[in-house]
Amino acid sequence: MEFRREDSGTVSAMFEPIEVDLLRNVTSQLLQMLGSVDADDAAMLAQPAIRRLLPDAYPNDPEAADEFRRFTADGLLEGKLSNATTVLAALGDDERADASADYSTDAPAHDPLPVPIVLTEPQVQSWLRTLTDLRLVLADRLQIDPHGTPQLDDEQSHVVNDIYNWLGMVQESLVYAIDA
């Protein structure tokens, strides 16, 4: 997986099918989480992961911070939902795996073909932001400390940490590609 800029202005990369499934999976979970946030529910907004997605704008003035959140939370959440939806759309339907199995003479089940992901400039913007949101949520789950080290060390966290690092690689590759 490495994004490259095409002459047409799009950026593209070949994803392994397992990478597509992974990104689809975590992005769907993010969508669910974002969709469940009620911007008027103070207790929900106090959850650390949500708080990191919608941080205090006024660190020393809780009243002004609440007011700012009241005016911006809905729009920010809408943007994040729309970005994640855009990412999902670019990954194609979940059924693609089944569909490709129909002509399995070309693509044996044990060796699935890489999937081309082609992104326009607006799609890239959505991807960059959603990759950030995903990493912010996973960092909260891993209890990543200020030095960037996960505080959780169980087996499940190692898997999550691998995903977290992989999402960072995807994002960095995208940033370098659009800069090229």
């Binding site: 997605l53 704008a57 994040k80 960059l128 932001r129 912010l136 960092a139 200020p146 994002q171 800069d179």
Partner: protein, 94 residues
């Protein structure tokens, strides 16, 4: 010369108000390359300036990335939150 008088009055009222600043804070999640990209693409600064601001965030824990009236700074902070950066606004120090 009413026009001159008008512009003088505007300048006075602006100077009475201490400006606001947009502050971006260091966080362990956002990649340095992404933070520099955000500064470049949103604030339209040169790559060198974006790199300087990013390193300031990284090394000092925070950087002032914009100064102006409160409304503009709120707009910047909201945009930074859209990018997933940890940003706040505050009165400029005297």
């Amino acid at each position: 010369m009413p026009q001159i008088e008008k512009s003088t009055r505007v300048r006075e009222s602006v100077s009475l108000d201490r400006p606001w600043v947009t502050v971006v804070w260091d966080d362990p999640v956002n990649l340095m390359s992404y933070v520099a990209y955000v500064f470049r693409s949103y604030f339209g600064v040169t790559p060198a300036e974006a790199e300087r601001l990013m390193l300031q965030v990284h090394n000092n824990g925070r950087a002032i990335v914009a100064t102006g009236d409160r409304e503009s700074m709120e707009r910047h902070v909201e945009a930074m939150h859209g990018y997933g950066l940890w940003a706040t606004l505050d009165r400029a120090e005297e």
